[in-house]
Symmetry: C2
């Protein structure tokens, strides 16, 4: 069991924090402003219930500032939206994240031109790489960013889990740690794509994910690599 | 049965022309310079055997200039490399392509910076859209660009064909024509993503396709959308 900080209080952060706590990890959720997060009573822009209600239902999970959450954790999860990921990690503090594994599930979505969003970095660079470059002392592993939050933490909900999840990162040990977590969630087909530059490939899956969501009318689908 | 022009003499053009001819279609392969194509005796830059040998083994398939091939066809297939697709269609001639369905299987790969290639158009535009915009009189349907040439035409080689193929296009009838062709090849899961702007999504699958090719050491894999 690990001490894990989940940065981000939205749907993805809640799903991951809830699952990790359920598996027995000691989970702290990190947020920019604890008082503001707890005071919010309205759904967020994506229609998600406010954090406070979720927190009541998950008493084992602590809420703290980004810095406090990161300081007490052995491992970090970036579940913030891509646009604010870098600011969240800056707020977490360079000393508090140094040497730790960061599971990065964020996508570089740019909603400024409406729906579907475009990507604010792509193809020749990625958010995963940007984070790794800005925080060389972190062991960044990109994963889980190619599926809905429910399927991230409960893959057997769909086709008994017969679908694929990717990992990208420079540190073999860190990828092993993340792969172990993914398997503890129920993922059975973990594909190691290579170093963190391969995060370009999985972040660029978002456009087809978004189009499929539109076509299918549900986010409960998944990529499987048939071979 | 249809009269079909396959533009492009490389591996993808050969695979599609051979399959279509085998199914009884009247196939003409289009090239920039017939004499030069037939005179080539060296493998191309990708290591593919020269066209002349393939042509000998496929006597039912005619070789002609882009313009002649397009003129006699009811339907067109763009199997040129993405960088030269626009030039090939210009050479085919606006009058010769007008009103016809174009199955566009090309990808906007840019090898100028080495391997893996980047995309010369992406995210907010696509090669499919560029072709549709440049030739508004064509009915462009993007498809098959997300898999190896062998699997394009013989999907049951892998997992009995239990994987997915996407179509994008503005014209419903044209998409029906293409979907019918795909089904005649053995594809069973044809997903209509929507209008031609959704070609952005499938062209952006190339980066992960290329990384998976590197990881797996074989191009015989496919995307399946599990739902």
């Amino acid at each position: 069991m690990m001490k894990i900080a989940v940065l981000g209080t939205g749907m993805v952060g809640q799903a991951l924090a809830g699952k990790l706590a359920g598996l027995g990890h000691e989970v702290t959720v990190g947020t920019r402003d604890v008082a503001a997060t707890m005071a919010r009573t309205e759904p967020d822009g994506m229609g998600n219930a406010p954090y406070s209600g979720w927190a009541t239902a998950h008493p084992a999970v602590t809420l703290a500032s980004f810095a406090q959450a990161a300081a007490r954790a052995e491992m970090l999860v970036n579940a913030t939206s891509g646009e604010v990921s870098m600011a969240a990690l800056e707020a977490a503090g360079r000393d508090n994240v140094a040497g730790k594994v960061l599971l990065d599930v964020a996508n570089p979505l740019d909603f400024s031109q409406g729906f579907p969003p475009s990507l604010f970095v792509k193809d020749t660079d990625s958010l995963g790489e940007q984070i790794q470059a800005a925080f060389p002392e972190l062991k960044v592993v990109k994963s889980l960013n190619t599926m809905n939050a429910h399927l991230m933490v409960d893959p057997t909900q769909l086709a008994d889990g017969a679908h694929s999840v990717f990992v990208s990162g420079n540190d073999a040990e860190a990828k092993k740690t993340v792969s172990g977590l993914l398997e503890s969630f129920g993922h059975t087909d973990v594909i190691d794509l290579g170093d963190i530059t391969t995060a370009r490939a999985t972040e660029m899956l978002l456009p087809i994910w978004l189009r499929l969501y539109g076509t299918m009318g549900t986010p409960m689908f998944q990529f499987k690599i048939v071979r």
